[in-house]
Symmetry: C2
DNA sequence: CTGAAAGCGCTTACAG
DNA sequence: CTGAAAGCGCTTACAG
């Protein structure tokens, strides 16, 4: 049995497809008698509109695409809920694409946008998709000059991009986290950074260095180790730090997962957290609070970040031009039990 | 500047749109000279096919929809990666819809399928969408008899549904978990169950009861508490259990988050885990291993579940009829440090 | 190997 | 308030 089309509905209701279309999209432009009749037939035939046909005709889709580097990361899932909520308010559906940290997948999803399968794009992966209106064509004419659809960047800033960005002040937040360790008397403070290419890595590392400089603390290159935001990489990083000639007593990790991994490894090494080593994370994911010890960390307003991003998309969708403004939301430093005063003996 | 269409490409390459279409979809059906010329123009104009137009014409979309009850739950995110991997192999893109445990959102997403925005559907939320070909129409003729697109159910079985289901044997896995506690000498074993309507809740509760019966252990109604799979609900449940007249020494939680929440609360109460109370979880999410204590739990082959589900969809997409078979994958019981022998004094 | 033409299922000015 | 008709951008038998 073939799916019913609008034509079937029209025939059965004894009206034109134009009227059916109106009855569904703008009910008050149709007499109430016809509307009722049409609605009955729609139910009867179990009619559902063909989204492709409507999209083709109206040149919009009612969908927004969100490109995420890793859907398994709790940081993103909460943010996505914010996007969803706002999208619902605006009557848009959200299409999520997981790039698994890869550029190839990111291109695949971005192409969905180019193919007009979505009306807007939220980028969480810090990459400019190659389409995005920047390509210089073979005859050296840069075209088109602007994107044809709203794009908003979240969390992982894309320097020089023409799109609005929603995020926090990572440098300041990182600096504050490290100053907290310094205030507690720690003088050998290490940093477990994110992956090297990542923009957040640079920003948080900058905050780390600034705090060391401000506090007059040394910056031993051994104390800077790179991870990839995973628990496993936090463990690996900690193993390196633990065998440093000058072992750090404070560690600032660029996210909570790496902080947790580090703590597990520090304890396996026979040291106490925070007794021997204090550890600070970043993000404040749900598990941070119930981890042992509960993690001192930087809380990002993840839900709000998602909401704001989608709200911006909504404005773009309504025809407003989106400037390259930066929306900087407040982060919050949350002190829990993974940090403590440095042991006097160690100083 | 308007987006280039196939017509623009055709004109500029001096061929018909038919040839452009072929050059893009079936390159070897076009002479290599033309193919090259067309490809150059495509690059030049930055042409991307209009997915709506193609979908409308070909009556397919190259997309598969996955309906998830909660994208923030690590159980699902890993499963989604399995879906993604397999989808990529089959050249399909994955559209994820988060229902946030609600029926309303589930309907919204399911409607996307009805509207032909996807070619197949993977249901992780244990609900039959109201469309799905089961509705009885107003004139009492049940139609259509079968779904018009492949549907696969994962994890949360839908009893009586005509679709293939991928999952584990939850009853057996739960029974095994509880027998583990019984074997350790625990005689007062509680269960933190999932939410009441959920199918998994019933299955795991059944396993719990079967194990008690087999071990000749009492089943105090006070020891059965319902949660909602969240950390917070695990904490609430533990608070109830801790004030039972006959306090349990073993707890089987229906997922890892609730187990973790319970452990936090048990410790806050002044008891040791596993010293005073042993706790078993379910799922083996990433955090289970680095939790303190590392969680004894049931490992579900999440990635494989996703892969298998998508593989089934793939077969359906190739025209094969999908039977209502159950694909039962092996789970694994993982013993870690959250369980220990019952204290003899307590017996 | 290539093109002319029909048609996928809608929406929307336009006319009445 | 309603309908006839054009057209959105593709694909694909069919003919050559």
């Amino acid at each position: 049995m073939a799916t019913a089309t609008m034509k079937d509905v029209a025939r059965r209701a004894g009206v034109s497809t134009a009227t059916v279309s109106r009855a569904l999209a703008q009910p008050d432009r149709v007499s109430s008698e016809l509307r009722r009749r049409i609605e009955a037939v729609v139910r009867d035939l179990d009619y559902t509109i063909n989204a492709s046909a409507r999209s083709l005709r109206r040149n919009d889709t009612g969908m927004v695409l969100v490109v995420v580097p890793d859907i398994g990361n709790p940081f993103f899932s909460k943010l996505l809920k914010g996007v969803e909520l706002q999208a619902r308010k605006l009557a848009y559906a959200v299409l999520i694409g997981d790039t698994e940290h890869g550029a190839a997948r990111a291109e695949v999803y971005a192409r969905q946008l180019e193919a007009r399968r979505a009306d807007g794009l939220i980028l969480l992966n810090g990459r400019t998709p190659s389409f995005a209106g920047f390509r210089v064509t073979s005859n050296a004419v840069p075209r088109p000059l602007g994107p044809r659809y709203p794009i908003v960047v979240v969390s992982e800033r894309i320097p020089g991009s023409p799109w609005p960005t929603v995020g926090i002040d990572n440098v300041a937040a990182a600096e504050r986290a490290v100053l907290h360790l310094a205030d507690l008397g720690h003088r050998r403070i290490a940093h477990i950074a994110g992956p090297k290419g990542n923009i957040l890595t640079g920003e948080r590392r900058r905050g780390y260095r600034a705090a060391l400089a401000k506090s007059g603390l040394p910056a031993d290159p051994d104390w800077l180790v790179y991870g990839d935001f995973s628990i496993a990489s936090g463990r690996r990083a900690a193993r390196k730090l633990l065998v440093c000639p000058a072992r750090p007593t404070g560690v600032f990790a660029a996210n909570d997962e790496m902080a947790m991994g580090a703590i597990v490894e520090i304890r396996a090494f026979g040291l106490a957290v925070p007794g021997d080593v204090s550890v600070v994370g970043f993000d404040d994911i749900e598990f941070a609070e119930i981890f042992d010890p509960p993690l001192t960390t930087v809380r990002q307003p993840r839900f709000e970040m998602g909401q704001r991003a989608m709200a911006l998309i909504g404005r773009g969708l309504r025809g407003e031009a989106l400037a390259a403004e930066e929306v900087i939301l407040e982060s919050e430093f949350v002190v829990r039990a993974s940090t403590a005063r440095a042991a006097p003996a160690k100083r």
